[in-house]
Symmetry: C2
Subunit: 234 residues, 2 copies
């Protein structure tokens, strides 16, 4: 049984990949490079692929910034230090237009070539309620597209879309990863990392991750940028 | 009203774009470069965009050959001089895995950014019955994905997928293009063009196009490679 895993190098997709490996799938990892990526992040993504004993790891460059429309791929600033309430009010500026549709379609092309029976995506609803393309009904609709739009589908085979983290809190995801021995220090979540790969600790993604580790009673081993001391701190 | 048009530079997508312009849409053309493309073809695609008076023309490079699996993007030979019966028996080797799913998803990302109410694709069922991702049920399924997976969709707006050529024969498409003044000499259909941009006249796409012009009682003004004279011809 082959699985294509959308592997961003982040915590969620790494835990999802580890779960698929535990379930007996041979893993074909697909990392899609869009927006800014630092060299150190790519190195870590490769180290994660090695840890997962993936059969193959493809890195595909995609210039989504051609279209613009997101703080994650354009020149807009990534919002920092937002409260839970701010984060949960509507679709954030870090939303990349149709991102999961684009990523799943590329994974589908790969799945056809390597004859995979499923695509694994680390999508999650609780922490990112603002993203429309993380909803279960969206994933079911994409499964129909996969069935109708592929050679495999016309032969009666289906390609399942698995999102095993969909209903889990960040804390539960971390506990799941811990149980599977995921090397958290290699995973990367920050929307606005420094050149040395360290995380900003202020974007939505860092805030959610740090809170998740805190609530799990753990220390996040990933590298973070030093806290900037303000005049008041001195 | 804005429309994103998947514009390959081919005859079908150019006629579909001309129909959308006639219907009053402001056109945002998206050309996806995958596999081999010659410089002269890109120049022609730009000339077509100018003729269509497109608001914008984006060219996005996508390395689908990363995955392999098709004669159109890999090193496999493009089949030549096949009969109608050979062409209609099953999925051809020129099928690119999940191609229309990938192309529509990229068009969807663009459509979100430019606030387009529809995506136009030159898909056609009659001549290419072997491609699963040209079927109407596939296109309807993708419309659901567009509705559920976008910011626009969550606000109650839909993004329609328009495939105005779906039920038309190549001859009817050519007649439609003729009525709209489409500059056929700029359009390009060959799967295996020469470096000067001339068409091979032997691949499935050339054979279907040439027969379409013949049945319409017209001469195709596009450049074709010289016919190789065999010993018997002398």
């Amino acid at each position: 049984m082959n699985a294509v895993v959308l592997a961003s190098g982040g915590l969620d997709s790494t835990v999802a990949a580890a779960m698929a490996r535990r379930d007996g799938y041979a893993l074909y990892l697909l990392t899609i490079e869009y927006g800014q990526r630092h060299h150190v992040e790519i190195q870590k993504a490769r180290a994660i692929a090695a840890w997962l004993a993936a059969v193959e790891h493809k890195i595909l460059r995609l210039d989504l910034d051609t279209f613009g429309g997101s703080a994650l791929v354009g020149s807009e600033d990534v919002p920092k230090n937002r409260s839970d309430r701010e984060r949960q009010s509507g679709i954030p500026s870090t939303y990349v237009p149709a991102r999961n549709t684009v990523f799943l379609s590329l994974a589908l092309a790969y799945a056809e070539v390597v004859d995979a029976s499923c695509i694994v995506i680390g999508a999650n609803v609780l922490d990112y309620s603002g993203y429309p393309d993380c909803r279960p009904e969206f994933l079911r609709a994409f499964e129909q597209v996969a069935r109708l739009g592929t050679k495999k589908g016309t032969h009666g085979d289906t390609i399942q879309i698995k999102a095993p983290l969909l209903p889990l809190s960040k804390t539960r995801i971390i506990q799941q990863g811990l149980a599977l021995g995921v090397p958290f220090e290699l995973t990367h979540s920050c929307y606005d990392p420094r050149e040395d790969g360290s995380a900003c600790r202020q974007c939505d993604s860092c805030l959610i991750r740090l809170k998740g580790f805190q609530d799990a009673g753990l220390r996040d081993p990933a590298p973070y940028a030093a806290r900037v001391s303000s005049i008041q701190d001195r």
